[in-house]
């Protein structure tokens, strides 16, 4: 075989091999760790360990923001807010990895004092050194140019923007409009202004925000999920105990996997679909590395 011919064949064959090559990389696609068990602190640690441990994300001396969902005045069993044990474990792991300060906050819908108290998160973190459970302060919101499809700019919370590491810890639950509230919707907690105004185009708006602001790690609390009457719930009959925690650096992949827990396909959720189409992450389950621990 002549050298020229060899190169030709090689070049031609790459056309046919194209799909195979892509699949080879896809197999390397985003890792989603799914841990299951009734020890919620334990499964949180396992999920983190599967991603290489918190030290992959948090370096000594850094400031970390852990953003749970504290949006509603409900106690943890109603699955409207993030499980305080999961939040506490994430915070502990941050400290163990050497974080100098861990800030925990959310922009709540009900009275913030009541939400912080009822969620159990405030009391779970009380007295921990280097940990601040903070109420938002209006003056810390900063206008950020998003240059998105529907949101050109929006006010985002300064302490989230300035953190070295941002860890997103939503709870998986039903939502009347977006069908589910997961990782990408949880980022709304750092949005200022009138958040209700983005509902008319919520999937595009959330994609805009998530395209500009990317959590380093998303850890979805599915220890209990709210299956109806979300995002507030209030009825234990709507709550399902799944004892699962999902962790990924790919927020879209984490959301996509969590969707299956509700018996839905990732593409059923417009927020996930839009984010995937805009290249913010992977939503095809067969293109993720799902690691069960």
């Amino acid at each position: 075989m002549e050298r020229r011919q060899f190169i030709k064949i090689l070049g031609m064959s790459s056309l046919f091999l194209h799909g195979w090559l892509r699949n080879l990389f896809a197999a390397q696609g985003p890792m989603v760790a799914v841990a299951q068990g009734t020890d919620h602190a334990g499964i949180t640690r396992k999920a983190l360990a599967a991603l290489g441990g918190m030290q992959q994300f948090v370096k000594p001396g850094q400031t970390v923001v852990v953003k749970p969902n504290i949006g509603w005045d409900r106690t943890p069993e109603y699955a409207a807010t993030t499980n305080p044990t999961v939040v506490k474990t994430v915070v502990e792991e941050c400290l163990k990895a050497g974080a100098k300060r861990v800030k925990v906050f959310d922009r709540t819908c009900n009275d913030p004092r009541r939400c912080y108290a009822s969620s159990g998160i405030e009391s779970a973190l009380r007295g921990m050194k280097g940990v601040e459970v903070k109420h938002l302060e209006e003056e810390r919101f900063k206008k950020v140019a998003l240059n998105g499809k529907v949101l050109k700019e929006w006010e985002l919370y300064g302490e989230a923007l300035s953190a070295d590491v941002y860890i997103n810890v939503p709870v998986a639950k039903h939502h009347g409009l977006s069908r589910l509230t997961l990782g990408m919707k949880n980022v709304m907690g750092i949005m200022g202004g009138s958040r209700g105004a983005i509902h008319k185009n919520i999937d595009q708006a959330l994609a805009d925000v998530n395209a500009s602001f990317r959590p380093h790690l998303t850890l979805i609390d599915a220890t209990r999920i709210l299956t109806a009457h979300g995002p507030q719930g209030g009825n234990l009959a709507d709550v399902k105990v799944l004892n699962r925690v999902i962790a990924s650096t790919d927020i879209v992949a984490a959301d996509a996997y969590a969707t299956t827990l509700f018996g839905l396909k990732p593409a059923d959720i417009a927020v996930t679909r839009t984010a995937y189409q805009r290249g913010l992450g992977e939503m095809n389950l067969d293109k993720m590395r799902i690691v069960r621990v």
């Binding site: 004092r113 009541r114 300035s162 009457h229 995002p231």
Partner: protein, 528 residues
Amino acid sequence: MKKVTSARISQLLFLALFLVLFLMTEYRGSDRIVAAVNGFFRANPLTAASTMLAAREYQPLLLPGLLVLVAAVFLGRFFCGWICPLGTILDLVTGRIRKVGAIRALTGRAKYWLLLPLLIASLLGVNLAGLLDPIALLLRALTFFFHPLFGDTVRGGWRSLYGLIGERRDLFDPGYRLLRDYLLPFRETLYPLAFLSALLFVLILFLERYERRAWCRRLCPLGTLLGLVSRLGPLRRIPAKLCADCQACREHCPTSFDRDLLQMEECILCLECSLRCPSQRVRFRFAGPRPQVGTVMERRVFLGGLVGGVVLARGLRFREPAAEAKLLRPPGVRDEDEFLKKCVRCGECMKVCLRSALYPAFFQAGAQGLYTPLLVPRLGYCEYNCTLCGQVCPTGAIPDLGKEEKQRQVIGKAVFDKNHCLPFAKRIDCIVCEEHCPIPGKAIRSERVELTGFDGVKRVVQQPYVVDELCNGCGICENVCPLEGKAAIEVFRVKDRTPLKASSGGASSSGAPPVSDPYVDPYAGGGS
């Protein structure tokens, strides 16, 4: 205030207690609030008298007030000289104000002209005493004006500090947190009538220009009531008159020695005359008949008071129907007349309302409803799990209900305005109201409707509707409606405020939706 006397110490302690209780009238992480926060009102004889007269029944909550009234029979106006925080404030400032002599119009029977109509109006079912009650006047001035002003100033400073030094402000955060958690109002609220509340308070201070404790002796209906009662008692000052050789009492006495004879109805029992008497002659004794001090009031005053009461009770009833449509009362108030009989307009509920949903009425509830609490959903909403207003109400005008019971109380009903509501008027998605509706079964639901948008594109839009049987009128939907100005969903007053059925509010109930539930749960049967 130079000499330390028992009365002075008592006054300062009670003033401190009043301020501490005022600051404690705030949500601090617990669903229950210390019962003592409304102590000054429950121990207030005027509140007790006017409320019981109006409701025509014994109110156990107000027993302390009755006890103080009984004590006044024996001890006269000790409340004014030893307890009343407004009196203490007057004593604290009066030394710095030069006196020009009493206003003649006030020296006569003016105070009876005030007290009598108030009591008669109460008897006719309109409890207006709180308008001029000194404790209420002080609390309202603090709640509506001085405390928000203080909060505004400190918070504004804290904010501009952020503008100046940015994140470095965090160094001072621990100090600010202490201030914020214990002294500042949590929420920055502007109140209607803040100006009037402050003005009345300042006017009372201004009266000190004429004579010491001018308000207390010439106008205060609470003091007048106590003075009236003390006439019956055996407490006497000896000697009753100024001694010919000394007359120092005239200098020392803050209230009742502008004439030669001690005016027992005005004596606030500060004991200055006794403590400072150069020859230690003055004594206060429980003794026999007192010297003749004249009749309480002439027939003219009595009849005038009667007419005044009728005018107050019957003449101020007009209500504007449009304003009445939005006349939303705090949760648990079911009957407007019943409420007006018991509400003493103390402002406690508005102080404690953690979402700043309650505001003092100006003329929405008619002139007779001045300062009574109104829920204004566009400004704040009734927090689903909060029961604080009922807990602090000193007269039970807002009943103190358990959480589940309160959640079922109907404040009003929400109604959509489809000309405004986005999914109807603009054919785009929204349903922020449904999202926020706190009722576990959702009193606001939505149906998916296929529509052609005004851009010609077919789409599925979720159009909301209200389930009346579940709506308690908390107002969060109106509060969060993203439309500017007027909301597309509004809570309106309803006459029938029968509480919702227990099954819909009970969080721990089986929670199955009603049989006729048109809402189909898209995730029923879902899960892993």
